[in-house]
């Protein structure tokens, strides 16, 4: 079902009955490794530069080259940038998928396609635009080897013309994409764009309704992926030790960070690095290094995804039980096991909160945007050091690897909170230093760092039983006292973790709770619910586990609350079930999607409607 604010598409396509401005989705189906990424980014960026809210999602296979890949762009004047399930404008470059892609379209959609594919023979109710890419590429790209890559840029010209994109913006976007060092490549590609444009101008008759018009909704904004944002966040939070083991979709977080670190964190006086990055041999070593570095005082982090999380379990338990900070970015992908490495999911929420054997509980942050990836890096470090415990930042593939428009990041004024660390001077003042004594009643004890020049500084860290003075013990009372302190510590975090954001609509009986990248689909779905069913809803976007009182309050104010998440088992809801009274839980309903694509509004709306009996 379509959400266009216009009259429904005529069943006989072929004539432009009406116009749909700044409200459509584009999907480009190509072959992985064919360089289409550049063409797609240029397309997205040029729409962005025209001031129109836009998002781009790369739906790629777990493969380096040769398998089908899709790129979806959504442009929407209202700012709905969740993935749109229905494709309005298809660019079909890949013979392997073109037929299925075309057959899945709704009536009235437009199709730009590689002429030899003869897709027009498949259906009568679409707007077809055949383009002879192979012919067009020859004059613009004399070098045969490069043609495979340059070929894709032609569709930018075709689509640009058909959608009425300002070619100035395409030019700007293209040259930005290539950067000053690759000006020659940019020129070559610009030639391809122009060839596409020229062909479209001369040979294609616009029959579909879609087009863009300049708006002013993106001025000053940036385009960035969540992994890069998280990388910058770590750097501005003062990270000093970074360890990693490559894994999709988390690798680019550290890879981008390395680039920025070189530039931003080389000591001006000495030319030396104020950071250390180590590619570990696996995730056990990556987290082990983080634990060791944090113990010795560094702001240390690692980044991984599902399989890495499983391998980090033992060390995370040590961190919990021995009060050692650690920051772990989990760029979630579809599990279990290897799962679908290039698909998105919120599949590790419950798992991270409970990771490792024995009684453990860990805080988890849920960024929903690049901006929050940036900000929550600092939150995570402050939390980890403030509470001396491992902290997870659960982002996901959709957020981490896709390009998002964003407000520019505000410079973090807050200074890093390094937690309760006693240096030599402080030790002079205390009568006794007992590493695990709960002096302040918040469960957080004071620590010292190795290398502190003071005879009182030393203590012994172990994952086995320890008493307040960090001495070995197997005593029942010591054990209970210590793990009760850890429970208390977890409870203390409630006051400090990022608070949820949302809105209580006094007219609403129903609330929607969600987190992370479900944000975009939920926002749009709430709008659909109002417009299509006249149902107003309140909403609350969680940013952290443990839950804060706002959530309880939110639930209290509504008859029922839907918890929207992207996993099979309702993992966040599970945490609510664990932590809340049955009377509270009784109000909770679950909306889950677990197909691995970025969540779309229609799915949420449909599930909501069904459960509400609408």
């Amino acid at each position: 079902m379509s959400t266009l604010e216009v009259s429904p598409a005529s069943s006989e396509a072929g004539h432009q009955h009406y116009r749909v401005v700044n409200d459509f989705s584009i999907q480009v189906g190509t072959v992985n490794g064919s360089g289409s990424q550049t063409a797609n980014n240029v397309l997205m960026r040029s729409i962005f530069q025209m001031g129109i809210p836009v998002s781009g999602k790369n739906l790629f296979p777990s493969n380096i080259a040769g398998l089908p890949t899709w790129f979806t762009i959504r442009a929407n004047k209202n700012g709905w940038i969740a993935r749109k399930k229905e494709i309005d404008f298809l660019v079909a470059m890949n013979p392997e998928t073109a037929r299925e892609d075309v057959l899945k379209l709704e009536a009235g959609a437009a199709v730009v396609y590689d002429e030899p594919l003869k897709l027009n023979e498949l259906r009568q109710d679409l707007h077809f635009y055949p383009v002879p890419f192979d012919k067009l590429v020859v004059p613009v790209c004399p070098e045969v080897k490069l043609r495979k890559l340059v070929r894709n840029m032609i569709y930018d010209g075709v689509v640009g013309h058909l959608l009425n994109i300002d070619f100035e913006e395409i030019h700007k976007a293209l040259f930005k994409q290539f950067g000053p060092k690759k000006a020659k490549a940019a020129d070559l590609n610009w030639g391809a764009v122009q060839a596409g444009r020229k062909f479209a101008e001369e040979q294609l008759k616009k029959t579909d309704p879609f087009s863009v018009e300049r708006m002013n909704e993106t001025a000053g904004k940036i385009i960035i992926d969540g992994n890069s944002a998280a990388a910058l966040g770590c750097i501005f939070a003062g990270v000093t030790v970074v360890t990693w083991y490559p894994i999709t979709p988390s690798s680019s977080l550290v890879e981008t960070m390395i680039g920025y670190l070189r530039r931003l964190r080389t000591d001006k006086e000495t030319g030396k690095a104020t950071y250390a990055v180590v590619q570990a041999e696996d995730e056990l070593a990556a987290i082990g290094m983080v634990v060791g570095a944090s113990w010795a005082g560094a702001r240390a982090m690692t980044s991984t995804s599902g399989p890495g999380i499983s391998l980090m379990a033992e060390f995370v338990g040590l961190g919990y039980y021995a009060d050692i900070p650690a920051v772990i970015f989990d760029v979630q992908r579809v599990g279990p096991s290897t799962g679908l490495p290039t698909r998105t999911m919120q599949g590790d929420v419950l798992k991270n909160a409970l990771l490792s054997h024995g009684d453990t509980r860990h805080p988890v942050l849920f960024p929903s945007s690049p901006q929050e990836c940036f900000e929550m890096a600092a939150d995570a470090f402050d939390l980890a050091e403030g509470f001396q415990t491992p902290v997870f930042v659960n982002t996901d593939l959709d957020l981490g690897m896709n390009n998002w428009m964003s407000d520019p990041f505000a410079y973090p004024q807050r200074e890093p909170k390094r937690g309760k660390v006693l240096d030599a001077a402080a030790l002079d003042k205390v009568q006794e230093f007992a590493r695990y004594r709960d002096v302040d009643g918040d469960g957080v004890a004071y620590r010292t760092l190795p290398g502190t020049p003071h005879p009182k500084a030393a203590y012994f860290t172990r994952g086995s039983g320890h008493n307040e003075k960090a001495q070995y013990t197997e005593r029942e009372d010591d054990y209970i006292k210590n793990v009760d302190r850890l429970s208390r510590k977890f409870a203390s975090m409630v006051a400090v973790v990022p608070k949820p954001e949302g809105e209580i609509n006094p007219k609403a009986k129903i609330g929607i709770v969600y987190y992370g990248t479900s944000r975009y689909a939920v926002a749009e779905s709430r709008d659909q619910l109002v417009r299509e069913y006249g149902i107003e809803t309140s909403h609350l976007r969680l940013k952290a586990y443990p839950f804060t009182p706002e959530l309880l309050d939110f639930i209290a104010r509504h008859d029922r609350v839907y918890v929207v998440e992207q996993n099979r088992d309702g993992q966040l809801l599970a945490l609510m079930r664990l932590d809340y009274e049955p009377a509270v839980v009784a109000k909770l309903r679950s909306i889950r999607y677990y197909g691995g694509m970025p969540l779309d509004a229609r799915t949420v709306t449909a599930e909501f409607a069904q459960q509400e009996g609408l």
Binding site: Y275, A285, G288, V291, A293, A296, G297, P408, P416, F460
Partner: protein, 353 residues
Amino acid sequence: MSTTITPPPPPPAPPKKLNRIGLEVLPYRGAKTTLCAGCGHNSISERIVEVFYELGIEPWKVAKMSGIGCSSKTPAYFLSQSHGFNSVHGRAPSVATGALLANKNLISVLVTGDGDTASIGIGQFMHMLRRNVPLVYVIENNGVYGLTKGQFSATADRGSKQKSGVINEMPPIDCCLMGIELGATLVARSFSGDKKQLSTILKTCLSHKGLSLVDVISPCVTFNDHVGSTKSYAYVKDHEVALQDLNYVPYYEEISVEIEEGETKDVTLHDGSHLRLKKLSRDYDPTNKMQAVQALHDAEGKGEVLTGILYMEQGRETLIDMLGVVDDALGTLPASKVKPGPEALEAVMEELR
């Protein structure tokens, strides 16, 4: 019934011995050992106490690292004024690496067992070697898992007998061989019963820059000290072949004795201390990697336990060198050093617009 006795006044305390930085031996000691009486590991702890005391190393500069096992417990039994970290089984190398990343100025001693290193931990061990992480890595090698009651570890020799009579059929992993092949820059083997050699080797390691690996045969009196075991006191005493007679002269002492040409080799260590290697039965050049490998192969064939400095390579870059980090500990750099300014962020934002 209780009687009150007036105690005689205590005798005047003898003047306490201080080391060169003015400390008694006490802060170099640790908690009372909970290992079995006679365990080789206890002797190694004693050597560590002695060496740090004698060299006058500030205890607070030291980080004691370990995994899990009887051997891994020992950091609690020495250097009570040093931070210690008894981590998880087989993964001390990563923890120690992390600690040194955070604070490159720490003097790190990692004590581990043969099970900890060669069984569960062989992966981390090998990658730590490759990285030439600057620390002293001591394997307390008894050929068994002491703490879990005597199962064979991966260093058990082929044909060695368990207490229950079971014979080990798997080839052993020679940690020294791995060290030499994979990038340790100082590799030695010793025996917990050989006080002088072990002390000298440990001192040499502390003067070395880079990863030094000491595989110390350290008999487990409870589970692997019987006839038929190749890691018993008796077996090692019978089969030990020392490569050199070793002498260590710290950088802060003057070298007094002249060295005899041909027989003794003097090596200047990274910190200016000297190691003097006096040839014993055979010619051996510890800077020759292939010779070291060959010697270990030969010794294995003959059932010999080759001790001494097996290999050393000076001047190779450590992990820390490769990373090119600032001189101060990364972990405690002030915010001004680690948080770029607003203009830096703005510049990045501008590029992304």
